[in-house]
């Protein structure tokens, strides 16, 4: 097999997506993608910032048809986009807001909807074609590009569908609360429906009422692709969801209690995906039944030096797992905790070292450090920063950080201190930092 079809086994009139204007058939989608491909600039890569999941898919498909690579930034922070633009110097961007993005040439969508109904012939994309780059925060400060082949995306979509047995669950639609520019969102809310011939909801519902409304517009028994935060909100708000076929959660671990409550309330199995941008989705579990994660078909665990890694035919080399794990069987593992320095805030991973480095680049900051306070079970932990910046205010520094970082990483709180407790070698002993934080907590009677 050297290629794979752009979309799964839709018939021309099947509804491929529901967007704000109503249903979009598979044939409409194909002609829109082909029309757009014909007018895209002649450049190698494209920053796809489109907010509608459907428009994003049209842009993604059109780019693939032109053999262009879609860039998936970690966030829309201006500095992040600027760095990507500097790195991928001849990229352009697809946007629906008409907002300027750091001198990058922009194509604004949706363009005039072409009325032409081309012939119904599903294009094929070579498996080895580079179709996307997911950026992660590297230790160098420059976003690290993770190149994705069409093979990698198609393989993960197929393995996920097989594992979840979507056919047996009679799932026909997908509603997602996660962003499609995020690796999990791309895999579970764009690739999965388009490869499995399902109807995708183009929106990104946030509040429980939004999720209910999106499900009500989608085929019965849709797959809800979401996160523990959204699930918890739906349960606490007491929202009555239309019948759901299955719930798929990722970005941070679900507690068994939350999973059990969601299964009972929404009458649907709750599965979780374990993955990371460097390798994509690699394992799954049904939280109420399994403590262990089971590798997706085609993905294997391997030991690479001192790091546990994953390998697959579609990955060019073994990829280290960013968590500490314990291997419990040939294809099963348990997650023990985070690798030192790696944090995951609401599904966004970063290295504390890199965040600190970006903090130190802020004008007026003499010294500083990002830390992850010990969080409570079930609540969202936010990062904290200790900063030495004489003459600057917290607002000055937060303002500068906002230009650089994904907002989920903005420190809460950011404490200005006269100096950091560095030892004689210049290092920051963890104990000394903990002591400093404890003292601040006591003085201000704050509970972290």
């Amino acid at each position: 097999m050297v290629d794979a079809p752009l979309i799964g086994s839709y018939r021309p009139d099947d509804v491929l997506a529901w967007d704000s204007d109503g249903p979009r058939s598979a044939s409409e989608f194909l002609s829109e993608a082909i029309n757009l491909a014909g007018v895209l600039p002649d450049r190698p890569s494209v920053l796809n910032l489109l907010t509608s999941r459907y428009e994003f898919l049209v842009g993604f498909a059109a780019a693939m048809l032109r053999r262009q690579v879609t860039l998936l930034p970690q966030s829309r922070a201006p500095e992040t986009l600027r760095r990507i633009a500097v790195d991928q110097e001849s990229c352009y961007c697809l946007t629906d807001r008409g907002e300027p993005v750091h001198d990058i040439p922009a194509v604004v969508l949706p363009a005039e909807r072409g009325s032409s109904r081309g012939s119904w012939k599903i294009p094929h994309i070579p498996l080895q074609q580079h179709v996307a780059i997911a950026f992660t925060s590297g230790s160098t400060g420059q976003p690290t590009p993770n190149l994705k082949t069409w093979d990698a995306l198609v393989s993960v979509a197929r393995a996920t569908a097989r594992r979840l047995d979507l056919k047996a669950a009679r799932v026909q639609g997908v509603v997602a609360t996660v962003p499609h520019q995020h690796m999990f969102g791309l895999e579970a809310s764009v690739m999965l429906p388009m490869q499995q011939g399902l109807t995708m909801h183009a929106g990104r519902p946030l509040f429980p009422e939004d999720i209910r409304a999106a499900l009500a517009k989608s085929p019965e028994r849709s797959l809800l692709v979401t996160t523990p935060l959204h699930l918890r909100a739906c349960l606490l708000a007491g929202v009555r969801l239309p019948p759901v076929g299955m719930i798929l959660s990722a970005t941070s671990a679900l507690t068994p209690d939350l999973a059990r409550e969601a299964e009972q309330r929404f009458h649907a199995p709750v599965h979780e995906i374990f993955g990371f941008a460097e390798a994509g989705s690699v394992a799954s579990r049904r939280t109420v039944a399994d403590g262990d994660w089971r590798m997706l078909d085609g993905v294997a665990l391997s030991r690479n030096g001192s790091r546990d890694s994953v390998q697959a035919a579609y990955l060019p080399c073994p990829v280290p797992i960013p968590d500490r794990i314990s291997v419990t069987g040939r294809a099963t593992f348990r997650v023990l905790g985070r690798v030192e320095d790696q944090v995951n805030i609401a599904g966004h991973r970063a290295s504390l070292g890199d965040l600190t480095r970006q903090l130190l680049e802020v004008e007026g900051v003499h010294d500083g450090v990002f830390i992850l306070p010990d969080g409570k079970e079930g609540s969202l932990s936010r990062l904290m920063a200790l900063v030495v910046a004489p003459g600057k205010t917290q607002e000055d520094i937060q303002h500068a950080l906002r230009r650089r970082l994904n907002p989920v990483f903005l420190p809460r709180p950011l404490l200005l201190v006269p100096r950091l407790p560095r030892n004689e070698t210049g290092k920051l002993p963890r104990e000394a930092l903990r002591h400093l934080v404890e003292r601040w907590k006591n003085e201000s009677s704050h509970d972290l």
């Binding site: 519902p205 946030l206 509040f207 429980p208 009422e209 939004d210 409304a213 935060l229 959204h230 909100a233 606490l236 708000a237 007491g238 929202v239 609401a346 969202l380 936010r382 937060q398 303002h399 906002r402 907002p407 989920v408 903005l410 809460r412 709180p413 201000s444 704050h446 509970d447």
Partner: protein, 90 residues
């Protein structure tokens, strides 16, 4: 700022925001007309979700993104307090 004074209800909502989002801020320091998201208080969509939960639990008002006035609802403490007063069921 047209009116820096906070009504008692605005102060109550400010307390709710600070508690729900575990902000290290004094509720009475939140400017009633300043932006809650983006610059201003710097809240993000996860905060919006948390805040919507607290509002649902405290006032029985379920926020919806499809509400035409949703953008203005979240624009400032004053706008949020006004929307809650209008839609609250408890």
């Amino acid at each position: 700022m047209t009116s820096p004074q906070r009504s008692p209800f605005e102060l109550e909502v400010a307390k709710l925001i600070v508690e729900a989002l575990k902000l290290k801020a004094d509720p009475s320091s939140i400017e009633p007309e300043a932006a809650l998201f983006g610059e201003g208080l710097g809240l993000d969509s996860i905060d919006a979700l948390e805040l919507s939960l607290a509002i649902a639990q405290t006032y029985g008002y379920l926020l919806k993104s499809s509400d035409p006035e949703i953008k203005s609802t979240f624009s400032s403490l004053r706008a949020l307090a006004r929307a809650i007063e209008l839609h609250r069921t408890k």
